[in-house]
């Protein structure tokens, strides 16, 4: 299990290499890096702050990872999520799955991101020219997570 919640940035290349290091049964590593965008809802965003619920965050991410491991044959899983103030272009999150099989790695990584978006207790506050505002949850994120209830890998 590899779940990390931190303010610091992370080294994507080193993290991905570590996922398969010493395990030559791994055929591939699928990953997703989420970045801060400079625009949201048509407005320029100069920065954002990620608040989270320490303790529950780690608990929920661990549960998401455990669920992924029951659904797909994974050799390694990694989720790193940052909190605190971030600027456009900054990395927010890394999800990565190593597997002998390409489809398992892709599906599991996508699943992690969809669940993380709807289950992990993080909240984004954006800084715009009109002041600060909390980001609203997107219905499309709920729909993206819901499809994993019915879809069999």
């Amino acid at each position: 299990m590899a779940i990390r919640v931190q303010a610091e940035d992370f080294d994507v290349g080193a993290e991905l290499a570590a996922l398969s290091d010493g395990n030559t049964a791994v055929g591939g590593v699928a990953s997703f890096v989420g970045l801060v965008r400079d625009v949201a809802g048509g407005d320029a965003v100069s920065a954002m702050t990620l608040e989270h619920y320490p303790g529950m965050t780690e608990r929920q991410l661990a549960a998401i990872e455990a669920e992924a491991r029951t659904r797909w044959p994974l050799d390694a899983v990694l989720i790193i999520h940052r909190h605190g103030r971030l600027l456009p272009g900054d990395r927010i999150v890394l999800a990565a799955c190593a597997s002998a099989h390409r489809a398992a790695a892709f599906e599991a990584c996508w699943f992690l991101m969809d669940w993380l978006k709807t289950k992990a207790p993080f909240w984004k506050r954006e800084e715009t020219a009109d002041g600060d505002r909390w980001v609203s949850a997107k219905e499309e994120d709920e729909a993206a997570a819901d499809r994993w209830h019915t879809r069999t890998p």
Partner: protein, 83 residues
């Protein structure tokens, strides 16, 4: 009972955490929200729309009919927006 608030629930209520002893008739998470609403305009505003209030008890998501114990850690927050 320890109550935590996050994101705009926190800013509307004006605190991130408080130790409260709800009256004995507050048996469920739904009861707790109803009772909290009566504590002031900030609470009433933050908890006006239950549909956008998520509840966790001891760091697990629960529904509005979840039973409460005096030593529970209860968190109220809006839908999550991380990732």
């Amino acid at each position: 009972m320890r109550i935590l608030y996050f994101a705009w629930l926190r800013t509307k209520i004006g605190t991130s955490e408080e130790e409260l002893a709800p009256p004995p008739d507050v048996a469920t998470t739904g009861d707790l929200i109803t009772w909290l609403r009566s504590r002031g305009p900030g609470y009433a505003d933050a908890l006006a729309n239950r549909a956008v209030v998520k509840v966790a008890v001891n760091q697990d998501y629960v529904g509005l009919d979840h039973p409460l114990s005096p030593n529970d850690e209860v968190a109220l927050f809006p839908p999550v927006t991380g990732g």
